[in-house]
């Protein structure tokens, strides 16, 4: 029952300290929850708050500046989040600041981040609604990850199938890797191709070096000139022949009469037939030539010889020369006949004398035609 002053003081200190501890705890917690001190509120409207709770921290530039005070459904799709912030950050929150729902760490609590606005914008007022940035949802990321992993599985499965097929020697790659005969064929093909290209290169080289017929054709101007010349001569002789036949047809002079009878006509017809034959042969030649060039174009085996055999081209050259020469000779013969033989025999009828000579020249030409063909 006796109470000393000392005991009372001890009890008083005990109680005061105990209550002080309690008060300190309450104050600290209250400070964290912004119960004391000046605050202001801002809000944002979100489609999804992804688990944000009342009391979640609000951060500005990573600093805790307040808490979420209310979360309310505005309508069926929108949620209004109101945050109570310390007054000391009021000057920094501009009207174009944005609210964003983030996470503390990877799996931590949800927090509201307020991004700094531009300094030109006015400071927010009490209760203003800030713009929001929709949060990246872990669910969506996981969903995408799942999708891509399914794809990866498919791809690897296909790869596995392909490689197993290759191992078993299926498909072209499989053959490539396993079938030795296939590889050998490929090898051969490539070797042949190499040969072919080498040949082509030789041919083009020969052409450039003016070897072979084509080379000569393309580069030897004398040959071209000869062709030109022979063509010219042929034209000349046919013109002469035409003159003769015209005269015969007119039946002028003794020989005119002589040759207008049917026997003569028949022989003339024969010679015309022969001429026709000659032209047919010439046509065949040109056709053959066309064939040759075609074959050359399609690259068949014979061409090589044709192109590279200079003997052949030489002989062709010789032939052409012969044609040229014979045409000239024909011309000369016709001239000689007219001047000498016919003048001598039928000096009065110069025009009719030419006829037998023309026949002779004709025959000469006919004989030469098949000769050319044979070559």
């Amino acid at each position: 029952m006796r109470m000393t002053i000392q005991k009372s003081i001890r009890l008083g200190v005990f109680i005061i300290v105990g209550i002080a501890i309690f008060a300190y705890a309450i104050y600290i917690i209250g400070k964290q929850r912004n119960l004391f001190g000046n605050t202001f509120t801002v809000s944002g409207i979100f489609k999804d708050v992804s688990g944000l709770k009342v009391g979640s921290n609000v951060r500005y530039s990573g600093i805790n500046v307040g808490t979420v005070s209310t979360i309310k459904l505005v309508n069926d799709t929108l949620v209004r989040v109101q945050a109570t912030l310390e007054n000391k950050v009021h000057p920094f929150i501009r009207e174009d600041s944005r609210m964003e729902i983030g996470t503390e760490g990877v799996m931590g609590n949800k927090v509201v981040n307020i991004t700094p606005g531009s300094s030109t914008q006015p400071v927010v007022d009490e209760g203003d609604v800030l713009g929001t940035i929709e949060a990246v949802k872990i669910d969506e990321i996981l969903e995408q990850l799942e999708r891509s992993s399914i794809n990866t599985t498919r791809v690897t499965k296909n790869l596995a199938e392909i490689t197993s097929k290759i191992n078993q020697g299926e498909g072209i790659f499989g053959k490539l890797f396993t079938d030795t005969s296939f590889t050998n064929n490929l090898d051969e093909i490539s070797r042949n191709t190499a040969q072919l290209t080498r040949n082509f290169s030789t041919i083009s080289g020969n052409i450039n070096k003016e070897e072979g017929v084509i080379g000569k054709l393309l580069s030897d101007t004398t040959l071209a000139n000869e062709f030109d010349q022979s063509g010219h001569n042929l034209l000349e002789s046919t013109r002469e022949l035409k003159k003769i036949t015209e005269k015969i047809n007119q039946g002028g002079g003794l020989f005119g009469k002589m040759f207008t009878d049917t026997a003569f006509t028949r022989s003339l017809g024969n010679s015309a037939k022969n001429l026709e034959y000659t032209t047919r042969q010439a046509k065949t030649i040109s056709e053959n030539l066309a064939n040759i060039t075609q074959q050359m174009e399609s690259g068949r085996g014979v061409i090589n010889k044709l192109l590279t055999d200079s003997v052949f081209s030489d002989s062709l050259d010789g032939t052409l020369k012969n044609i040229n020469r014979s045409a000239k000779e024909l011309d000369q013969a016709a001239e000689t006949l007219r001047k000498n033989w016919f003048i001598r025999t039928f000096s009065s009828k110069k025009q009719e004398q030419e006829q037998p000579e023309g026949e002779e020249a004709e025959n000469q030409q006919e004989n030469r035609g098949p000769e050319n063909q044979e070559k």
């Binding site: 029952m1 109470m3 009890l11 109680i15 300290v17 105990g18 309690f22 705890a25 600290i28 917690i29």
Partner: protein, 257 residues
């Protein structure tokens, strides 16, 4: 009063209920025995503090050291102060303090009142015109009810010190950072229900101790029995109350208080 030793649990409960009503009646109605109340507060609060301090310090230290490995496994060592603070403030502080008080104070009250009852001092007090319910019981119940929360605050604070030391055994953390981390997860719905719980624990310890002492039979062994059953019943009562208050805490948490 009619049940010797309190063998029957049902009569025990009904007797305790009647006793509680009488205690509350005397607590609310003057005159109040202030001097006796202060004396009891001194004995109950101040004299229990060293015991509570040692227990709380060791508890904070050990709890931190024991929880640390699993948090390190999760790479969440930084959450250690917060975890310890929540478990101490919410549960371990009040319950351990209350259990120690049940052992020390409850048995003390039971033995004191039991011996007074056995030696018929209570009857003598009644004869001399002092209401023993008011003078002996109400003062003790009020003292335990008021002192226990304060002891809990001390216990919490001291176990924080123990926890701080334990955290610093393995890492280096400033007092400021420790306190920030420790208070970070704490809400009012952690502290307020725990404090309410502490008052109820104190009240229960006082009432049960007094009731058991008051119910003591005859002979010296009755005193020991009274003290013993006071501790046992008070300890069980603490756990039952704790279980009920968890619900209160939960509902406060839902209200975001």
């Amino acid at each position: 009063m009619n049940n010797e030793g309190g063998n029957n649990i049902l009569s025990d409960v009904s007797g305790l209920a009647k006793f509680t009503v009488r205690v509350v009646h005397h607590l609310l109605n003057p005159p109040f025995e202030n001097r006796e109340m202060i004396k009891q507060s001194y004995n109950i609060g101040y004299k229990t503090l060293p015991l509570i301090a040692i227990t709380a310090f060791i508890l904070g230290l050990v709890l931190t050291l024991q929880s640390r490995p699993i948090l390190v496994d999760f790479g969440a060592e930084m959450l250690l102060p917060g975890m310890i603070s929540v478990s101490i403030v919410r549960e371990i502080g009040p319950v351990v303090t209350a259990l120690i008080c049940a052992g020390k104070i409850g048995s003390g009250i039971g033995a004191e009142l039991g011996s007074m009852k056995v030696t018929e001092q209570i009857d003598a007090m009644e004869v001399s015109g002092t209401n023993p319910m008011k003078f002996l019981v109400a003062t003790r119940v009020l003292a335990t009810t008021l002192m226990l929360p304060i002891l809990v605050f001390f216990a919490d604070a001291i176990s924080f010190i123990g926890s701080f030391i334990a955290v610093n055994l393995h890492s280096d953390i400033s007092v400021q950072l420790f306190l920030t981390d420790a208070f970070a997860p704490l809400h009012f719905y952690d502290i307020i229900p725990a404090t309410i719980k502490s008052f109820i624990f104190g009240f229960a310890i006082g009432v049960i101790g007094c009731y058991k002492g008051y119910q003591a039979g005859f002979g010296t062994e009755a005193v020991g029995r009274a003290a013993n059953s006071a501790v046992v019943v008070a300890s069980v009562a603490i756990f039952i109350i704790d279980m009920l208050v968890v619900e209160l805490q939960h509902s406060m948490e839902l209200l975001k208080f």
